[in-house]
Amino acid sequence: MASKDKKAKSDVSTPAAEDQHPPMIDYKTGDNATKNKDEREVSIRRLKREPIALESDVQEHLGKCLRDAYGQLVSEPVPDHFIKLLDELARKDGEGS
């Protein structure tokens, strides 16, 4: 009974248990994390590394994506009714004076 409990909960630092529970688990649970400080740091780095690396990629990518997306809108042809409207405004203006 006691040995079962031990295996299930508190014996995280044995090699077998570490295989089952990657460092991320240690990071989350306070006591175990202090026990396995090295592993905790590894897991923190693992958690942080990916977003930071991606961030610069995405950041660089971002401006271009924005200009591409916006550029597509700008390059849409001007609908005829705008040209007609402007001509109409100009015509009325000519008549009015």
Binding site: P51, H61, Y70, G71, E76, L85, L86, L89
Partner: protein
């Protein structure tokens, strides 16, 4: 300049593509954007005496456009609570625009920004206005524009970043992302 000249007509015509793009960015809806631009053209024409020659015509037109959009939106909100409907048309881009995945992702991400952040980012990052010009168009302080652009960039990076992670991995956090996006969009 008392009476609109042929030059003014040509200048207005030349500015239509950018006004439409900005209007679509604001309201996310092609049909409503065209209505907006039409209103702006008429207003600009009848208020030409208020435009100071030699100043930035595009900035002047964008100011009118933005103000028109906001007052229309206030009216609409009073009629129908359409806060979610504002961007209902965001996916219905014209047929020739379906090609590029990044562009589509960017549209979706932009749609999740607040109007304040989106307009600031578009004015600075896409239209190439200076911070001073953007502040004038939006009727706020230069520092406000800077902080909105900054927050918009971070938010976009976050949204695009999450999507990039999904691209590389076997969809581990899609559910979380979707609910996060739903919670933060308004």
């Amino acid at each position: 300049m008392k009476r609109p000249s042929a030059e003014f007509r040509d200048a207005l015509l030349a500015s239509i593509p950018n006004m439409r793009a900005f209007a679509i960015s604001l309201c996310g809806n092609h049909a409503r954007a065209d209505d907006l631009v039409q209103d702006v053209l008429v207003k600009a024409w009848s208020n030409i005496d208020k435009f100071q020659e030699g100043t930035n015509l595009k900035a002047w037109l964008f100011t009118i456009l933005r103000n028109t959009y906001l007052s229309d939106r206030r009216k609409r909100r009073r009629e129908v609570e359409d806060a979610n409907g504002v961007y209902s048309d965001k996916l219905s881009s014209p047929p020739e625009q379906h090609g590029h995945l990044d562009v589509k992702d960017m549209r979706l991400a932009l749609a999740k920004l607040s109007t304040d952040q989106r307009e600031a980012l578009v004015l600075i990052g896409a239209e190439g206005f200076s911070y001073e010009e953007a502040a004038e168009i939006c009727g706020c302080a230069v520092g406000t524009i800077k902080s909105r652009v900054n927050r918009a960039r971070h938010r976009l990076a976050e949204l695009m970043n999450i999507e990039a992670v999904n691209d590389f991995g076997p969809e581990p956090i899609t559910g979380a992302v979707m609910s996060q996006a739903a919670a933060s969009s308004r």
